[in-house]
């Protein structure tokens, strides 16, 4: 940490232009947090120019005048880390929104600060180390049962470590000392960490375990690895938000960090009310117990929006350090980039492409690079998977934010407005999407699902690709003009789309589809395709093959919980129908 308040000189405001203000006579370093004006609004130093210090202010600056004081705290923008993070709902600079309602009512007024964690609440600390043990930075000293998640209390990453002199269990606030080292260092549960600096790790691991999401098109066709990065670009109205919420609800990460960055208030509220009510399928407890939400809606101060993604990823890294798998959703990184652009233009910086600052690409890649599956300082392994939404204006993927994001991320889930208009949900285009983790994950699928899965997926992708080619012909000459074999291909592709790819997020059963069921469903479709092929070789017409009635029942499997008997029956019915056809 930087030096304390004694060096933090006091300065005076010189100019105010929206969220950007200029101060003079201030001795400051880049990214120091400052208090602006008589109301002590929170701000951050973003540029130093001659004797001028340029500050972005996290709150509304209306009414602030030149001449008012500016005070440097000497600290960087940091978050408080410790027990109490889970179930919290923060704004972009880690002010708990619930506390703000108590402090200032239903609207967000300014000049009110609130610590990220409760400093009064007592937590039951159970040491796992004892006096005389040697500890180093990052080591786990003990645990706190925070919710159903066990919070691991660690030696701060920048501590020198040493031999434990005294460690005691019992009830503590986050500020109270729980452990003293031989050299006199006192350790409390609370850690502060500057948000713009990644937390250190021992080693980054390869991405060879998938993050299972229960969404067929994602797990089945375009998986993301634990610790991987993915982008969901989508023109508005293509179901991006629903897809992200599905991921937050169902992915098999232990901790979920959801950043609503420049998002809609009502949609944030939907998340805020839905999460506490949602049951975690694994524990039966509210999903909120393993979630941290950050909500900085589009009309909240733009500088706090800029900070919100850093706040979020720092919290995610903290849980990763404990050995957890964390999934982080940032919705939307385009709003974040726009916040950068807005501040950059107030700074009168030379703009890059479309007015975005020239450092846009660097900032984006720094952010995504904080994802990863790692070995922590304390030898546990954990991961942060980052799923960022981008909102290309006018659905134009060539715009700078989308392009720069695609250069970094490994998975692309191409949401398609055309599909959502047809109510094909999730509206992820199977032709434009990709996952660069497929090869790395093959082994896992062979081992955990079935050795047949990888060929099955390739087969399905092949059919879908073939359909796209055939559709071009159909557009010109109509489907009757296709060869018999291809007419059946079209039908099989339709089945893959309607049965496998379409998934109803609002249906109690279909909302989550385990990998084993995905495998069974795809296998059943393939079974039909094989039967159809055999029948055609035996002389059946496309009409006969497509007319098989029992295959239409397959779609109901999605909505059936204990589906195996029904699926078995369909399989047998299909075989019987084909047998009957052959007999006739």
């Amino acid at each position: 940490m930087k030096k304390g308040k004694e060096n933090g000189a006091q300065g005076a405001l010189k100019r105010i232009s929206g969220p950007v203000v200029t101060a003079v006579g201030l001795d400051a370093h880049m990214y120091d947090v400052v208090k602006v004006g008589n109301e002590e609004l929170m701000g951050e130093v973003i540029k130093i120019q001659g004797e001028n210090t340029i500050i972005q202010v996290y709150e509304d600056t209306a009414g602030i005048r030149p001449g008012e004081p500016v005070e440097n705290t000497g600290l960087s923008l940091a978050v408080e880390l410790g027990p109490g993070l889970l179930t919290s709902i923060y704004d972009g600079i880690q002010r708990p929104l619930e506390v703000l309602v108590d402090k200032m009512g239903n609207f967000i007024e300014r000049g009110v600060s609130a610590p990220g964690l409760s400093h009064e609440k007592k937590w039951e600390f159970v040491p796992t180390m004892k006096a005389g043990d040697d500890v180093k930075a990052g080591d786990i000293l003990g645990t706190v049962q925070e919710t159903n998640i066990v919070h691991k209390v660690m030696v701060p990453p920048r501590s020198k470590g040493g031999k434990i002199k005294k460690i005691s269990g019992g009830s503590f606030t986050v500020d109270e000392t729980i452990c003293v080292l031989e050299d006199g260092t006192e350790i409390a549960m609370l850690q502060r960490w500057p948000v713009r600096v990644p937390r250190p790790v021992r080693e980054k691991l390869n991405p060879d375990i998938p993050l299972i999401t229960g969404q067929r098109i994602l797990d089945g066709l375009f998986p993301i690895a634990k610790g991987g990065t993915a982008a969901i670009p989508g023109p508005f109205g293509s179901g991006k938000t629903v897809t992200q919420q599905q991921l937050a609800k169902w992915s098999d990460a232990e901790i979920v960090v959801y950043i609503g960055c420049g998002e809609r208030g009502n949609e944030m509220t939907e998340v805020l009310t839905e999460f506490p009510e949602l049951e975690d399928p694994k524990t039966g407890r509210p999903l909120m117990e393993r979630t941290v939400l950050i909500a900085n809606t589009s009309n909240m101060p733009v500088a706090a929006r800029e900070a919100s993604v850093y706040t979020g990823i720092t919290i995610a890294e903290y849980f990763r350090d404990m050995g957890y798998d964390v999934s982080l959703m940032a919705d939307s990184t385009s709003r974040w980039a726009e916040a950068m652009r807005e501040i950059s233009s107030r700074l009168e910086e030379m703009p890059g492409e479309e007015g975005y600052p020239a450092y846009l690409a660097a900032r984006l890649s720094e952010f995504y690079e904080r994802a990863g599956r790692v070995v922590n300082l304390n030898e546990t392994s954990g991961s942060v998977s980052v799923i960022g939404a981008v909102s290309p204006p006018g659905g134009d993927f060539s715009e700078p934010v989308t392009q720069n994001t695609l250069r970094i991320v490994k998975v692309f889930w191409a949401l398609d407005a055309k599909l959502s208009q047809r109510r094909h949900f999730p509206a992820i285009n199977w032709l434009n999407s990709y996952s660069l983790y497929l090869d790395a994950l093959n082994e896992w699928y062979d081992r955990e699902v079935s050795p047949e899965w990888n060929p099955l997926r390739s087969w399905a992708m092949g059919v879908l690709q073939k359909e796209a080619e055939l559709q071009e012909i159909v557009q010109l000459v109509g489907s009757d003009a296709l060869p018999d074999e291809e007419q059946v291909t079209i039908e099989v592709a339709r089945m893959i789309r309607e049965i496998f790819l379409q998934q109803n997020a609002y249906d109690a059963v279909d909302t989550f589809c385990p990998m084993s069921k995905q495998y069974d469903m795809m296998k059943a479709i393939k079974h039909y395709a094989d039967l159809a092929r055999t029948a055609q070789v035996g002389g059946a017409t496309p009409q006969q093959v497509v007319g098989i009635k029992s295959k239409n029942e397959l779609v109901q499997i999605k909505f059936t919980k204990d589906y195996e008997p029904a699926l078995d029956k369909i399989r047998k019915d299909m075989e019987a129908e084909f047998d009957a056809m052959r007999a006739a």
Partner: protein
């Protein structure tokens, strides 16, 4: 109050004042011209050396001899209960010949953001009586649902029909309407006013009129005044307020004009880079607050330049609002009213306000099925143009006919036809019944057996 005569520069709507004492950002400014007229403005940028004032009225008459008075406070709007039934200018002054508003409160016009934690999720279904909205793009209380239209289309009729018919079935609470016109013509304004008067809606409405010949810069504050009023009516007095803002395109033009005058680095198509944040500060002022009775529901109207939905104005709007209702020229040309194209239209909050306990259990699935079938039929129209109807399969022909039927019966309705949600859904089923049952893949069997006209008839017969 100190008066400065130190104007250094006047450019468009901006006045640059030198050598002032410290002036607060965003402060309200009065400018006194030589003939004694007072014009209002707001501080856009303040420093030791120069203060930039944005004037809300025409700068005609302002010169080096004009006096500048900084009021020391940000713009506040006097609000009171007797605003209902009044017509105000775009700057908030009464223009209906009536008395001044008796203020019960003076409120900041910028409006603080509602704490997301304090919001209650919108869940009350608003019945507009228009099938394409109620059935497939449902509006709920607290939502902001814009109408994307284009010049020459009857978006005003649609907005008026919504204002006239909007109700929450089973609830006796009435809507108050706040209507803010920005840069619309006198003729359009009269059209709205006549309808408000005819239907008696004016008594429970507050009207803000900034007409085409009023200063463009005034348009910057008109929606903010309207929303401040709406929030007062909703969150202080407990009304359910429907806010109609028309035309947001004119608002954005004014925003661009000021950006250009300030010599800012322009963003897409010359609109300022902060337009998203600026629009959000308007559109986000809708919603419901936990434990507070009223609500603010917004229907902004915008005309898409050149029918282009990717233009920055509709594009950024769509990113902030919870969906959009798209008025379509082709349907209009076919003589269909209300010409709403359901395919690009969307209500993001629909699922919160429909289904059992809100509308009817089959609503979601019927809506999905209608959408899918119409989309398929509509796609086939392109194919027919190339290969002719005869080359289509029987299945395709069915969907093609469905699309025509959908437009003719579901979309088409009278200007004064107020369909209940049951009527809309039953109509949907009637149309779906023209398709073979196995094509209704989006509806579970149970619902089909309960609501499909075929089974209903059986049940009755």
């Amino acid at each position: 109050m100190k008066e400065y005569r130190t104007i250094a520069q006047i450019a468009g709507p901006l006045v640059f004042v030198e050598k002032t004492e410290p002036v607060g950002y965003s402060e309200l400014v009065n400018i006194v011209t030589a003939d004694g007229t007072i014009k209002r403005g707001q501080v856009l940028d303040t420093s030791d050396e120069i203060v930039v004032v944005q004037v809300f009225e025409t700068t005609a008459g302002i010169g080096r001899d004009s006096g500048i008075r900084f009021t020391g406070e940000t713009i506040k709007m006097p609000v009171g209960k007797d605003m209902l039934g009044r017509i105000l200018s775009g700057g908030g002054k009464p223009i209906d010949g009536g008395p001044e508003i008796v203020p019960e409160k003076r409120l900041e016009t910028t409006g603080a953001a509602i704490n997301p934690y304090a919001r209650a999720p919108p869940a009350d279904f608003i019945q507009t009586g228009i099938s394409t909205i109620d059935g497939t793009n449902t509006l709920v209380r607290g939502q902001k649902l814009p109408i994307f239209s284009a010049s020459g289309l009857p978006h005003n009729d649609v907005a008026l029909q919504i204002a006239r018919q909007a109700k929450v079935p089973g609830s006796t609470e009435e809507f108050a309407v706040v209507f803010a016109a920005m840069g619309i013509t006198r003729e359009e304004a009269n059209y709205f006013m006549a309808d408000f008067e005819k239907t008696g809606a004016l008594e429970r409405a507050v009207v803000f009129l900034n007409l085409a010949d009023d200063p463009a810069v005034e348009r910057i504050i008109t929606p903010r005044l309207a929303l401040t009023t709406a929030e007062y009516l909703a969150f202080d007095l407990g009304y359910h307020v429907l806010v109609i803002l028309t035309d947001m395109t004119n608002y954005c033009e004014a925003l661009r004009q000021i950006g250009a005058a300030r010599e800012e680095v322009p963003g897409r198509r010359g609109y300022p880079g902060y337009m998203y944040t600026d629009l959000a500060s308007i559109y986000e002022r809708a919603g419901i607050i936990k434990g507070v009775k009223g609500s603010v529901t917004q229907i902004p109207i915008l005309t898409m330049p050149g029918d282009d939905i990717t233009h920055p104005i509709p594009d950024l709007t769509g990113y902030i609002t919870e969906g959009q209702i798209v008025v379509n020229r082709e349907l209009h040309r076919k003589g269909i009213y209300a010409p709403i194209n359901v395919l690009p239209s969307l209500s993001r909050l629909m699922n919160l306000g429909i289904g059992k306990g809100h509308t009817r259990e089959d609503h979601k699935k019927v809506s999905d099925q209608l959408y899918a079938a119409y989309a398929e039929g509509n796609d086939l129209r392109g194919l027919v143009a190339i290969v002719g109807k005869d080359a289509l399969s029987d299945r395709d022909r069915m969907f093609l006919e469905f699309a025509d039927l959908f437009e003719d019966r579901f979309v088409r309705q009278g200007l004064y036809e107020d369909r209940s949600i049951e009527e809309t859904l039953d109509l949907g089923w009637d149309l779906l019944a023209t398709l073979p049952e196995e094509q209704l893949v989006r509806i579970d069997r149970e619902l089909i057996q309960k609501y499909h006209p075929k089974y209903r008839k059986q049940a009755q017969g």
